[in-house]
């Protein structure tokens, strides 16, 4: 039986780890390679790296980080942030990432999803969706809208429509981030999560709002997600990954307990 995955997300800027609340006021809290190794040893099922600013110069720094990580941990990891071309994808995969995550670039140029899937296989292509709850309207009938630039720019695209569209284009997985819930620690946006998981057949990673292990149980049961993304609660030591997994296991969720 397939286990639900716990995926720590490491935000990286200039090769260093940061975690912001609602994308503002970032502070550095460590070395991404060391932290990845620690989470690997603690039983993380996968790791996500998010290159926060990703200028051309920073992308080179990030590729060095990716190479080091790939020689240090032996579980899948993905890299996102500013990836917008097939060449970006190729260099990141060759540096050792298992998957690449595209977000704004896919909204602006959906063709990148099918091109990436064709060139490297669907399993490599994760589409990150930043979603904001809005009034239902003709252009956004589900009441969930796709936003980019950390929520600053509304795209007038319905999140449910977009989720189905990225699946059709060949995405292997969706990382579904609620901008409303992100950084609140009040739990994942379960209504949104369930809406998307009920309507696509590719795996969905719930993201944004994790505050305690119960939230992760909710994300994968009530939300129907295949995986839960976590950040601050492990980065700042409020919970360890083994504690989270033990709690989920005790609550009847199949998670990987031996590693």
């Amino acid at each position: 039986m397939l286990s639900k995955r716990i995926i720590p997300c490491l935000d990286v800027r200039d090769g260093l780890l940061t975690k912001g609340i609602k994308f503002e006021g970032n502070v550095n809290i460590g070395d991404p390679v060391e932290t990845a190794r620690l989470y690997y040893e603690e039983g993380a099922d996968e790791i996500v790296f998010y290159d926060i600013t990703a200028s051309a110069e920073e992308r080179k720094i990030m590729l060095k980080v990716v190479e080091k990580v790939a020689s240090t941990i032996f579980i899948p990891f993905s890299v996102g942030g500013g990836i917008s071309t097939l060449e970006d994808m190729r260099s990141t995969l060759l540096a050792g990432a298992e998957k690449i995550s595209v977000n704004s670039a896919a909204v602006k140029n959906p063709g990148i999803i099918s091109q990436g899937a064709e060139a490297f296989g669907s399993q490599c292509v994760v589409v990150g969706m930043d979603v904001l709850k809005v009034e239902k309207s003709r252009s956004v009938p589900s009441g969930y809208e796709i936003v980019i630039h950390g929520g600053r720019k509304h795209m007038g695209i319905d999140a449910l429509w977009w989720a189905r569209e990225v699946e059709r284009l060949g995405a292997g997985e969706i990382c579904l981030n609620s901008i409303d819930a992100d950084g609140t620690k009040n739990g994942y946006e379960l209504e949104l999560t369930r809406l998307i998981t009920d309507n696509v057949r590719i795996p969905v990673i719930a993201s944004g709002g994790a505050g305690n292990p119960e939230h992760m149980v909710d994300a994968v049961t009530r939300g129907g997600a295949s995986a839960a993304l976590i950040a601050s609660i492990v980065h700042y030591g409020e919970y360890t990954i083994p504690e989270i997994k033990q709690y989920m296991h005790n609550n009847g969720v199949k998670v990987r307990m031996d590693w």
Binding site: L2, P76, D258, W259
Partner: protein, 209 residues
């Protein structure tokens, strides 16, 4: 030296990195002399069966691999590398190497998980393996260990070759083969310590052989 078969498909670097980490001498290669002189071959792969077979045939590697395996060279096929060992794949209806009788099938969209929800496809993530037979590559690995899978097609070998079974919507064969020739649907190079143990067990087997 362990040869990692280079047939221009998918991510070969992750297997190399895992072997480097384990201090196992290795070479990513399509050179026939090197394949012959290696202690054993790892046949990795991510991608589609059709283009993989084309690349193998274009380089004459299909016959090289077959004759090496027949002559007793140890081989470990991973993911696509495991599927290609069989007769045919429904993925691009491709005739594959046919070293072990069997075929590959696609996960049906009608399958459900334990709670009655339709399964996600691909099968992506960590899952268990129930060993039906003893296998030297699993020596020293705790029974409850999980391994990382990512695939939409699964192998259906001749039942005589089934070694391990995994449940995802249905029971499918995740490990098959015989002494010296093993095929695994999951990725040992991405399955943490238990996965690394499989790779080092394979190397030990090659050294003893």
């Amino acid at each position: 030296m362990i040869a990692i078969l280079d047939y221009r498909a998918g991510n070969l670097t992750s297997v190399k990195r895992a072997l480097d980490h384990l201090d196992i001498p290795n070479e990513v290669t399509s050179n026939k002399d090197l394949l012959h002189s290696s202690l054993g071959i790892i046949f990795p792969g991510v991608g589609a069966a059709g283009s993989a077979m084309r690349n193998l045939r274009d380089n004459g590697l299909d016959n090289t691999i077959k004759s090496l395996v027949m002559s007793g060279k140890p081989m470990l096929g991973i993911c696509l590398g495991c599927q290609v060992i069989l007769d045919e794949s429904l993925e691009n209806t491709t005739a594959t190497l046919g070293i072990i009788p069997g075929r590959c099938e696609k996960f049906s969209r009608n399958l459900s998980d334990e709670s009655g929800h339709p399964i996600s496809i691909p099968h992506m993530g960590w899952n268990n393996i129930w060993l039906k037979k003893e296998c030297p590559l699993f020596k020293g690995i705790p029974e409850n260990s999980e391994f990382y899978f990512v695939h939409s097609y699964y192998p259906v070998p001749d039942p005589a070759y089934i070694i391990g079974v995994t449940h995802y919507g249905l029971d499918f064969c995740s490990v098959f083969g015989r002494a010296g020739l093993w095929a695994m649907q999951f990725h040992p190079e991405k399955s943490g310590e238990p996965g690394l143990k499989i790779l080092s067990n394979f190397y030990s087997y090659c050294l003893e052989k």
